[in-house]
Amino acid sequence: MHFKGKVIKYGANVDTDVIIPARYLNTSDVSELASHCMEDLDPDFKEKVRPGDIIVAGSNFGCGSSREHAPVAIKGSGISCVIAPSFARIFYRNSINTGLAILECAEAAEEIKDGDFIEIDTEEGKISDITSGKTYKASAFPEFISEIIGADGLVGYTKAKLK
């Protein structure tokens, strides 16, 4: 997959309570969840996010709850990909399962600046910062994870397994 967009940058330990506060978890409606995405961390997020934009953040992104509503809200708000040095493990699973692209790359996460325009090739794990002219290489997904992604997510994978 190829993505191109503007960077919205956050720090380390962005938790699921700020990605989508629990007070909105009485629904699983994507557009409703997306309308509250990041509101306790960055009240301007909703106004500034454009389809295709990319979140670049610090380590342990998505820590906290198992709520799948978190990657769903991020994806629903138009974000195409999240880059961080590391992801909390349940968030990592949930992103793969719900089709939110995520890339682990410590160097890119540190150097890329808020507002930069970047281009991503997820197959190659290549991140190009058009603004700064630098390129980065993200860790590749293990083969098994690529298989899940290739089967159109865990549901497709499970259907094939049950056949």
């Binding site: 330990n13 938790d15 309570d17 700020v18 506060p21 629990a22 007070r23 978890l25 009485n26 629904t27 699983s28 306790d40 961390l41 380590s59 342990n60 820590c63 906290g64 709850s65 198992s66 709520r67 799948e68 509503h69 590391s86 909390a88 493990r89 349940i90 699973r93 949930n94 399962n97 719900t98 293990p142 098994f144 994870i145 899940i148 997510g153 865990l154 549901v155 994978y157 499970t158 259907k159 397994k161 049950l162």
Partner: protein
């Protein structure tokens, strides 16, 4: 290569003799758990995918505990969806609000004897790691994972590296499992055990009650761990024998870690040196020993949750509150973790102690822990809570603050009006 307890359980459930950190395996599951926030999306996925029937109606546990008793119409509809699915699929372990065996999910699964040593368990709730206290491999997943596992009875795992946590000595007065886990999280940070298993051992384990161990494993996720796990000893067996249907006499020997099991690192904790801890906003790792900071005035105290809602917690809280009054202007909310805990607290006169002290006594629910209901915070308010997270906006307004602590510090704070220890009451 020698294997840890976690690796042994994963290998067994993957039908393999051995597995190593980094291996991706497909493991069969003994218990699958969902609550009223995570199950409704799982049901949507299950039905949209035309999975048909669940793989085993006896192995799925559904607990409407987060926004229940239903806090609003949308929550009521989520619970309704769960109830109807449970009925249609004839799920054995669906727990209805108020009925026997019901309560906060991670309080009731052990209490109802649904968890055994060596089990492989997933739950669509991050605190599913609680059950490691009983020698099970248990971890949190999302709704899609739950939906697919309800159909297939298995799921994938990446076999984790392990951190060995060796416990020595015995905890002093007012120091509980909560203080031990806050101490550990403070030491290694909120991602200090990311993707890894925390494997507890050492002669100090025998000095920890089952309630302490459940609290410790409950918060393994707060340092990023995939799971926390305790060895099985006489205390575990006694606990299980009283609860598992048909009794429980001995854990399978294969779950013991190999002598040459490999741990990425070892952390030694002398329990006698751990003091009552408080995690300041807005991370569970932001820990301070009680008595090392100035007077912090508090508006609300919450005692309960999957972390500290067991009968032992109620007894500890009541011991501090007995004959005392909650400070003026303070709201103290006590939530027994289950119907069983509620009834026992009633029998022992603990609820009377709470009411006499000026506490709200609530039905078992996760409510306030995640800012759902039954104790949501206003702008600028501070709360000492025996729950597990203190992120921005966790219990209400984004400018409210949550301080995490054990039951006795929380109860003492309710009386003092500022964060303090029971020692200050004497």
């Amino acid at each position: 290569m020698g294997m840890t307890m976690t690796q042994k359980i994963l290998a067994k459930h993957a039908g393999k003799k051995e597995c190593a950190p980094g291996d991706l395996i497909e493991a069969s599951l003994d218990v699958l758990l969902g609550n009223d926030i995570t199950t409704p999306p799982a049901i949507d996925i299950f039905e949209r995918s035309a999975f048909g029937e669940v793989f085993d109606k006896e192995k799925i546990v559904l607990v409407p505990d987060h926004f229940a008793p239903n806090k609003d119409i949308k929550s009521a509809q989520q619970c309704q969806k769960m109830r109807e699915f449970a009925k249609k699929q004839k799920i054995t372990h669906y727990y209805e609000q108020g009925q026997e065996g019901m309560g906060v999910e991670h309080v009731i699964l052990p209490e109802n004897g649904l968890v055994k040593p060596g089990d492989c368990i997933i739950g669509a709730d991050s605190h599913t790691c609680t059950y490691g206290a009983l020698g099970a491999f248990s971890t949190g997943v999302g709704s899609t994972d739950l939906a697919c596992a309800m159909a297939s009875g298995s799921t994938w795992f990446r076999v984790p590296d392990a951190i060995s946590v060796v416990l020595h000595g015995e905890a002093g007065p007012y120091v509980t499992g909560k203080d031990v886990i806050l101490y550990l999280i403070g030491k290694i940070g909120v991602d200090g055990a990311l993707y890894r298993s925390l494997e507890f051992s050492g002669e100090g384990v025998a000095k920890l009650s089952m309630a302490d161990r459940l609290t410790i494993c409950n918060m393994a996720i707060e340092c990023g761990a995939k799971n926390g796990i305790f060895p099985v000893d006489a205390i575990t067996i006694e606990y299980l024998n009283e609860r598992v249907p048909g009794g429980y006499q001995a854990a399978p020997e294969w779950i013991l870690p190999d002598e040459d099991a490999v741990y990425e690192k070892t952390i030694e904790i002398d329990l006698s040196s751990v003091r009552p801890m408080v995690a300041f906003p807005h991370l569970p790792s932001n820990t301070h020993e009680v008595g090392t900071f100035g007077k912090i005035q508090v508006d609300q105290v919450v005692i309960g949750s999957c972390t500290n809602g067991r009968i032992e917690d109620m007894r500890r809280a009541a011991a501090v509150l007995k004959g005392r009054k909650v400070a003026e202007g303070m709201r103290a909310i006590v939530l027994p973790g289950s119907q069983r805990v509620y009834k026992q607290a009633l029998k022992e006169g603990l609820l009377e102690v709470f009411v006499d002290a000026g506490c709200v006594v609530s039905a078992p629910t996760c409510g306030p822990c995640l800012g759902g209901h039954m104790g949501v915070l206003a702008k600028g308010e501070k709360c000492v809570s025996t729950t597990n997270r203190n992120f921005v906006g966790r219990m209400g307004h984004k400018e409210s603050e949550v301080y995490l602590a054990g039951v006795e510090v929380a109860a003492a704070t309710a009386v003092l009006g500022y964060i303090g220890s029971p020692e200050e009451l004497n």
